[in-house]
Symmetry: C2
Subunit: 367 residues, 2 copies
C-alpha cells in the first residue's frame, strides 16, 4: 500500500459510471468505510445532463458516491468528481490521497486546481525547475572538478552529476518562490556550467550524442562515412539511429578481417604487417579509404581490441585507435577504455561521434 511509503498519493481513473470503475470502492476499502451518496453532486449531474437536453442516466448516480469522511472535489469539466481522503498509516500519521478522473483534460485540470496547491504548500510554496546537461569525453571526477563550487552542497540551484554509458550528466535543480525566479536562476546556473565545460556539453534533456552530431552534419550540409573494425557497425548504427540521417550518412564499412581492410578500404598490407590492425596508421588509412570511396566530406575510422581476448602488454584490451579524415587531412588518436566488450565498443563509437562533432565545431577535442 502506497500510504506506507509516500505522503501524497495521486490516483487517476476508475471514477466513471460503469461496472469496472472501481476507484471509489477501492478508496472506501482502504479507509474501511462505506460509500455515501452526495446529494449535492447528484443535483450537479442532473443539471449537467439537463444542460445537454438529456435526462441523467440512472447509472450515473454512482458518480456521486463518496467514501464516508472523504471530500468530494469539484470537476467543472465532466461528470466524475474527484475524491480527497486522509489515509491513516497506523502510526498516528496519515497520507494524503486524491483520486482524479482518468480523462486527461479533466485530470490535468483537477491536478492543477486541487493537487498542485497542496503539493506546493507541502513543498514550502516554491517551484522547482530542472534541466539536465549532457557531457561526453571526460570522467565524472574531472567534470566535477571543473564545476567546482557550483556543486557545493546546499547551493540553490543545485548541480549534481550522474553517469550512464560514459555520458556524464549535470542535473540542475532550481527551487525558488516563483516560476520566473526559478527559470532565471536555472538559466544562470546552466550558463555558469557552460562557461566551465564549453563544448564538452553536447546537449540537454533528451538529446543524444548521435542526434546532436547528425543535426550538425545536416545543418552544415556535410556528408559522412564510417570505417569500423572492433565496433562492428555500432558507429554506423548510431548515426543511422537518427531519422533523416540518410541526408548525411552515405556509407559504412565493417572491415572486421584484415583482408576486408585491404580490399574494401585500401589499407596497405605492409602497414598491417608492420604496425598491426590496431594502430593509428591503420585507422588513418581506413578513414582515408572510406572518405574517398564513399565520396564523403568526412569519414571516421575505429580499430581496436574490444576483448575479452586479443590483448597484449603493449596493446591491452580496450586499446582503440580512431581517425577522422576531412578536407584538409586526417586526425588520429589512441584511447584506452577500461571495461567489458560492450563498454569498449560503446565508448569507442561515441568517441568517434564526438571527434566528428568537435571537428564540425572547429574545436580541438579535449584529451
Amino acid at each position: 500500500m502506497a500510504a506506507a511509503r509516500a505522503d501524497f498519493i495521486l490516483v487517476s481513473g476508475g471514477l466513471g459510471p460503469t461496472a469496472d470503475d472501481l476507484t471509489r470502492e477501492a478508496v472506501a476499502g482502504v479507509l474501511g468505510v462505506d460509500l455515501e451518496i452526495n446529494e449535492g453532486w447528484v443535483e450537479r449531474l442532473r443539471a449537467f445532463f439537463h444542460a445537454r437536453g438529456r435526462e441523467m442516466p440512472e447509472r450515473n448516480r454512482i458518480q456521486a458516491m463518496v467514501p464516508r469522511g472523504a471530500t468530494l472535489v469539484d470537476n467543472p469539466r465532466g461528470t466524475a468528481p474527484g475524491i480527497i481522503a486522509s489515509v491513516p498509516r497506523g502510526d498516528g500519521t496519515s497520507a494524503w490521497l486524491m483520486a482524479m478522473p482518468g480523462v486527461p483534460r479533466e485530470m490535468f485540470g483537477m491536478f492543477e486546481e486541487a493537487a498542485l496547491p497542496v503539493l506546493r504548500r507541502a513543498g514550502g510554496g516554491g517551484v522547482i525547475l530542472s534541466r539536465t546537461l549532457h557531457t561526453f569525453g571526460l570522467g565524472e571526477s574531472v567534470v566535477a572538478e571543473k564545476l567546482g563550487e557550483l556543486m557545493t552542497r546546499g547551493r540553490n540551484p543545485s548541480v549534481g552529476t550522474t553517469v550512464s554509458g560514459g555520458v556524464v550528466s549535470l542535473r540542475i535543480n532550481a527551487r525558488f518562490a516563483t516560476p520566473a525566479e526559478a527559470s532565471d536562476q536555472l538559466e544562470r546556473t546552466c550558463e555558469a556550467c557552460r562557461a566551465r565545460l564549453g563544448s564538452l556539453i553536447y546537449g540537454q534533456d533528451e538529446d543524444t550524442i548521435q542526434a546532436v552530431t547528425m543535426r550538425f552534419l545536416l545543418d552544415r550540409g556535410r556528408t559522412v562515412a564510417t570505417a569500423e573494425s572492433c565496433t562492428g557497425g555500432l558507429a554506423a548504427k548510431m548515426l543511422s539511429d537518427v531519422p533523416g540521417s540518410s541526408g548525411a550518412f552515405l556509407a559504412g564499412w565493417v572491415t572486421y578481417s584484415n583482408a576486408a581492410k585491404v580490399r574494401d578500404l585500401g589499407v596497405s598490407a605492409d602497414t598491417l604487417e608492420r604496425v598491426g590492425a590496431v594502430s593509428e596508421e591503420t585507422a588513418r588509412q581506413m578513414a582515408r579509404g572510406a572518405r574517398q570511396r564513399a565520396g564523403a566530406d568526412l569519414a571516421v575510422a575505429i580499430t581496436g581490441i574490444a576483448g575479452p581476448d586479443g590483448g597484449t602488454s603493449e596493446k591491452p584490451v580496450g586499446t582503440v585507435c580512431m581517425a577522422l579524415a576531412h578536407e584538409s587531412g586526417v586526425d588520429s588518436r589512441t584511447f584506452l577504455f577500461v571495461g567489458d566488450r560492450d563498454l569498449v565498443r560503446d565508448r569507442s563509437a561515441k568517441t568517434a561521434l564526438s571527434m566528428l562533432r568537435f571537428h564540425l565545431l572547429g574545436e580541438a577535442m579535449p584529451a
Copy 2:
C-alpha cells in the same frame, strides 16, 4: 526497512572482527536490544585458533557478540557465526532475519544448512525450478496458441509467456516436493514446449539470438558477411557483439545511399530505377554482392523503410526486404514490422540473424 515488505530477510557480510563489520550492531539496533557475549562461541573461537597453533586475537571476541534474544548460527567453516532473529513488524507479525558471513564459501554453506530448510518449510516443503526458453519470429498469441493446454492456469509445471524486443519467452516453473521430481517435470515440460515450437526456440535463459547464431557459424566453420541499408550496421553490430565473432564474421557493408549499393555491392542501377532500393531484387543483389566481395560462405542483406518518413501506400513504413545468399543460391523475403524506427531496425536485424540460423539448421524459417 525490508521487514515491512518481506517475510524473510537474508543479509550477508559485516560479521568479521574489524571496525567496519557492523551487521551485529545493525541487527541489534533494528531489534532495539543490546549485544551480548556468547561464551560458548568464545570457546569455539579459542579452539579454532588453538587448532591453528595461534592465540585468539582479542578483537575476534566481538565475533561472539549476538543481539539479545537472537539465535547464534554455527559456522563450521570460519570464525563468524550467523545470527537469526525475529523482527517485529508492529502489527503483531514478524519477519525472519538471518545474517550470514560474507565469505562466499561460508555464506553458501550456512544458507544451505540454516536458511534453505526454513524457506522450504515456508514454501510448503517443495522446491521450485525454473527455466526460460526464448523464441523469435512469431507473435505471442501464435506462440500461446501452439502451446495450447500447456499454458492452462493452475498447471504444474506452469508455462507463461513474456515478450521483450520481439523475443517471446516461455517461463516454465516446476514446483514439486523434491528437487529430483521438479527437475524431471521441468525437463518434460520443456520437451513438450520444444515439440510444439521446434526450432522457433532458439535458446534458453541467458542465450541471445546473436550468440546462438554466431555459435552455429563457428561450430560449423562457416563465414558470413552483411549488407545493410535501413538497419545501418545493426546486424553487423549484433554479430560482432559475440566475443570471438571475428572467426566467422568477415565484413559488413552499410550501403545507406543508392550510390553505395551500386558501387560497393554491385547492385544494378537499373534494378534500383525499376523496383527501388526496398525490393527483394535489390536485397538479393546486395546479399550476392556482399557474399562475393567478402569471400564469405553466407551473406545477409537488409533493405527497408525504418521510418518515420519514406513510407508509401505500396511500401509503408516498416516494409523490409531481406535476402540470404548461400552456396546454392539466394533466398529472399519481405516483412512488415509495425512500430517506431528503433523497433523496425531491431526486428529487421534479428530477423536477418534468424534467417541465417534457420539456414544453418537446414530448415525453412516459419512464416
